[in-house]
Symmetry: C2
Subunit: 235 residues, 2 copies
């Protein structure tokens, strides 16, 4: 079953979430059922980017052609990769090569292949995105993933987002929980201007987390790739 | 048994290693059996700082007085905390409060209380430190910690350090492995100058890791606290 692929790149590092810093290849799929106001990957769904439909064995060959012997972890991102049933075969083929596989999804669509993923980041979207989380759906998602290596990650742009994050963390207290700063300037190419802004925002988020007893066991992270490479794509 | 305490502070976030981003309190102990050329905590052992000997229950009270209800994780750092047998009681008291405990040590001294630590970072020092790692000691350390939640972290200043890191990772391939940038300017108070330098160094380290097949399952991280707070202490 074919998968619409937007880009394959790496090796680089995972800049976010539960395996932050991990050396990895990226496969970015096209298409999203959401349209977050601040989406930093909108080229995957708004018509400005071009995807190519590929069979999983072709994607494996492309990963090998680009990454050679220099990786053992593949991150499937999007868009929302969970729209694509064909990823199940891709995951199996990666595992046959001895590679681990990570995925990030907003948890709006279930796929059985999620059960085979090595690190799963579920990222329900906070109010500033303009999206609404269906919590009964998220409940079922997390029930199914009870024995999986799954985490929750909430991107925070404002205090309402932080309140939303508190609710999510209180609802699923045993799921590893990550707070992440958002990037509200996804077009600038001036890193000397972007970096202090992102770090200031990170300091603000740390301050919120530090003062919230609900967040005592949370992890608070910036987006490392944005600090290093700004808004450049494909790194 | 008393522990020489340099400072107690927090809550803040852990800026490094296996629980990077974790909200935590810090207890910094005095004394180190090493004297790394680039030590960023030399006030713990070079006579420029002042420690106070405290019984573990006193330290618990101090943590509560400073952190209130705003934490559930305590990081014991140094110096080398593993010099102090008394930390065993402190760890037990933290656990009795329901707090988790993390420790970082260069793995030159063993203490049985290490078996009770929730996250252990072992940081053998690379050549640029001027210190020599006793690998037979490190072997025994890691054997004893086989069932613990332990990781290895190597700070990298130059390519020789990176070669040392490759040797360490190859010697203990199943232990979660972290590469970390060093800070070679531990006195500047000019963050506008420090941050781009640290990020440049991080990009350099990512590049080394990306091009090393030995590092395929490594995680590469900066020091987040240095990016946010520069060389300021007690944050
Ligand atoms: S869910 Fe992710 S990819 Fe989809 S619109 Fe939101 S931020 Fe963009
Ligand atoms: S082991 Fe750590 S505390 Fe001791 S001298 Fe080296 S860097 Fe400093």
């Amino acid at each position: 079953m074919k998968i619409p692929v937007m880009e394959v790149f790496g090796p680089t590092i995972q800049g976010e979430g539960m395996v932050v810093g991990q050396k990895t290849m990226f496969v970015r799929t096209a298409g999203c059922d959401y349209s977050c106001s601040w989406c930093d990957s909108s080229f995957t769904w708004d018509g400005t980017g071009k995807s190519v439909s590929k069979r999983p064995p072709e994607i494996i060959e492309e990963l090998k052609a680009i990454g050679g012997q220099l990786f053992s972890h593949v991150t499937i991102s999007g868009g929302n990769p969970a729209l694509h049933k064909g990823i199940g075969e891709l995951v199996d083929l990666c595992h046959a090569e001895g590679w681990k596989v990570g995925v990030e999804t907003q948890a709006s669509f279930w796929q059985d292949w999620l059960l085979n993923i090595d690190d799963i980041t579920l990222s329900p979207k906070p109010p500033s995105s303009g999206m609404i989380t269906d919590f009964s759906k998220l409940d079922r998602f997390l029930e199914k993933l009870a024995d999986a290596n799954a985490s929750l990650k909430i991107v925070i742009f404002d205090e309402d987002d932080f309140k939303f994050a508190e609710e999510v963390h209180l609802r699923y207290p045993t799921v590893p929980f990550f707070l992440q700063t958002g990037n509200d300037d996804i077009t600038t190419t001036d890193d000397a201007f972007l970096v202090p802004k992102l770090l200031h925002r990170y300091e603000w988020l740390i301050e919120l987390a530090v003062n919230s007893p609900v967040m005592n066991d949370a992890k608070v992270l910036p987006q490392l790739h944005a600090l290093v490479w700004g808004n450049k794509r494909g790194v």
